[in-house]
């Protein structure tokens, strides 16, 4: 039977490439990102320059279009926004970048806590729904409906409840968790139940218990789905944390910074924009960390797509 071994070795070696050609896809991705940023910058400053040259007005066949949105108050120069980072936010205060950094840390901490809470809740709900179709039919509609309630309306209530429960520091994480548990529930449920029938039958032929089936089959199968949800939840938790901070009176996070710079917007428009940039960076960083974890843990996901 050495013939069959030989043939298999040939087949397997053709799957492994010899020296693969240089991979420029990473370089191309970076180049694309840079190009996109350049496009935004050009559009931003270009439209501002154009509007300024035309006194922020444009006549189009009889009608007059106002271009005030491109003036320096509504849309500051990008250079001004960048400059604002190094300037103090308050009289004699530290530079804005320091203020925003500490605010970002605080908000990120609350977002991560909410992410963990929502992730665990969503995960447990998905497992419950997988094993009890009764629970799924009963509760899933409410889970879905919960997301239609505007979070801005719920946030003040959550703040009050948490204060009454002597857990005021959990208010913002709970609000962040509210946004994160839903994708985790839905995607994890999909991952747990999208197991091929023959794989389940294989387990049945081994007389495996539901717990063994969960641990050895459903959960590994669900991991790619779970990480998709976690990536969504990563950014959602940052949004949730910021929104949660708005009615809570907390000054130390990005929510407080936004309220502050919003109130005094006209005095220094670039500061609010700088805060928006900081919030975006926080969201992106969290996303990148989760995506990195996915790369490390889910090494087979991309392959099965082939």
């Amino acid at each position: 039977m050495s013939d069959s071994v030989h043939q298999d070795a040939i087949a397997a070696s053709s799957v492994r490439a010899e020296t693969p050609p240089p991979d420029y896809s990473g370089l191309r991705t970076v180049a694309m990102s840079v190009a996109l940023v350049l496009v935004v910058v050009l559009l931003w400053e270009g439209l501002k320059a154009f509007s300024q040259a035309n006194d922020y007005e444009l006549s189009l066949g009889g009608a007059t279009v106002k271009l005030d949105i491109f003036n320096n108050t509504q849309l500051p120069h990008l250079t001004d926004i960048l400059a604002a980072f190094s300037q103090p936010a308050q009289r004699n205060g530290p530079p804005l970048i320091e203020v925003l950094l500490s605010a970002s840390f605080v908000t990120l901490g609350r977002a991560v806590t909410g992410f963990a809470l929502g992730g665990v809740l969503g995960f447990l709900l998905a497992i419950l729904f997988t094993h009890s179709s009764l629970m799924q039919r009963g509760l899933l509609p409410y889970v879905v409906a919960s997301q239609t309630v505007p979070i801005l309306a719920i946030a003040p209530m959550v703040v009050i409840w948490m204060r009454q429960a002597q857990l005021p520091h959990l208010a913002v994480p709970v609000i962040a968790a509210y946004l994160t548990f839903f994708p985790v529930t839905i995607y994890t449920l999909r991952g747990l139940t999208s197991v091929p029938v023959t794989s389940l039958e294989l387990m049945r032929s081994y007389a495996a218990t539901p717990l063994e089936i969960l641990w050895k089959l459903r959960l590994p199968n669900a991991l790619p789905h779970i990480f998709t949800a976690l990536k969504i939840s990563a950014t959602a938790s940052v949004v949730g944390a910021i929104i949660g901070e708005l009615p809570s009176g907390l000054q130390d996070g990005l929510g407080g910074a936004i309220l502050n710079f919003n109130q005094y917007y006209v005095q220094s428009p670039p500061r609010l924009w700088a805060t928006i940039v900081a919030a975006a960076v926080v969201g992106i960083l969290f996303f990148v960390v989760v995506a990195g974890a996915e790369r490390l843990i889910v090494r087979w996901g991309a392959r099965t797509a082939e």
Binding site: V5, D8, V15, T198, E201, R204, E212, P220, W300, R303
Partner: protein, 262 residues
């Protein structure tokens, strides 16, 4: 077979499905069959003859509508819980997140084989199917035939008395299939007194592998003929050249035609 106690016994087995249009589908009607230990029994017939359904009822992957099935003196459910058989599906059904070695170890983990022995046993099985060098590869790195060999290694890992195979080589090309047939016979010889139930579409495969062939016909699914295969053992490529081989394939072909038209 008179005098040998049957390891699998089927009596008046019927299986009725409700079809998609509400009509009843008689997948199996009044099947009676005895299988002795150590036999290699093939089930062959056109689509809808119930051969896969019969295998799945024996394996307790689906239940009977009426009649009895006794496996090793027990109900199919009990035989399943006692892990008396291994099942090989038409698709390899390997788990993508496990290496080849870990895939073969899966039943050993669930059946609580002693930890220290698991890896060794899995490696032995991989050697048996001649994939010893691929232990740390992932399923996606293997060809279809190799994946199916891994699934066979996995089915044998816990030394089942009975091996149930549902068109395991159906998705493979003819040459690979013939190689796999040889390997399967080698494995069957190596596992002492293992009973094999083998569902196939291929007449030559059924004749080459089996000690007995159960020819089935559809609508309703039933046994139309049982043919004893008296070809000598051990079998090899030269077996396919024997006059008796051609006689038997002709016999099976005739039985299949009769089953459809008769």
């Amino acid at each position: 077979m008179i005098g040998l106690s049957a390891i699998i016994s089927v009596r008046n087995l019927s299986k009725i499905f409700k079809g998609t249009d509400g009509q009843q589908v008689h997948a199996l009607a009044d099947i009676n069959l005895d299988i002795a230990p150590g036999e290699f029994v093939s089930f062959i017939g056109p689509s809808g003859c119930g051969k896969s359904t019969l295998l799945r009822v024996i394996a307790d992957l689906t239940d009977a509508t009426s009649g009895t099935v006794t496996v090793n003196g027990k109900t199919p459910a009990q035989a399943r819980k006692d892990r008396d058989y291994g099942f090989v599906f038409q698709s390899a059904t390997l788990y993508d997140w496990r290496t080849v070695l870990k895939n073969v170890q899966l039943p050993l983990e669930i059946m609580r084989y002693p930890r220290e022995k698991r890896e060794q046993r899995a490696r032995e099985m991989l050697q048996l199917v001649e994939l010893g060098d691929f232990a740390s590869k992932y399923p996606w790195q293997l060809s279809g035939g190799m994946q199916q060999r891994v699934s066979i290694a996995r089915a044998l890992a816990f030394e089942p008395q009975i091996l149930l195979m549902d068109e395991p080589f159906g998705a493979l090309d003819e040459m690979t299939r013939e190689r796999m047939n040889n390997e399967l016979l080698n494995i069957w010889r190596a596992m002492k007194n293992m009973t094999v139930l083998f569902v196939t579409h291929s007449i030559s495969e059924a004749v080459y592998l089996s000690t007995r062939i159960v020819v089935m016909s559809p609508r309703p699914g039933r046994v139309s003929e049982i043919i004893d295969v008296d070809l000598p053992h051990p079998r090899g490529p030269e077996t396919r050249e024997l006059d008796d081989f051609f006689r038997l394939t002709g016999q099976v072909r005739h039985a299949l035609r009769e089953g459809v038209h008769g």
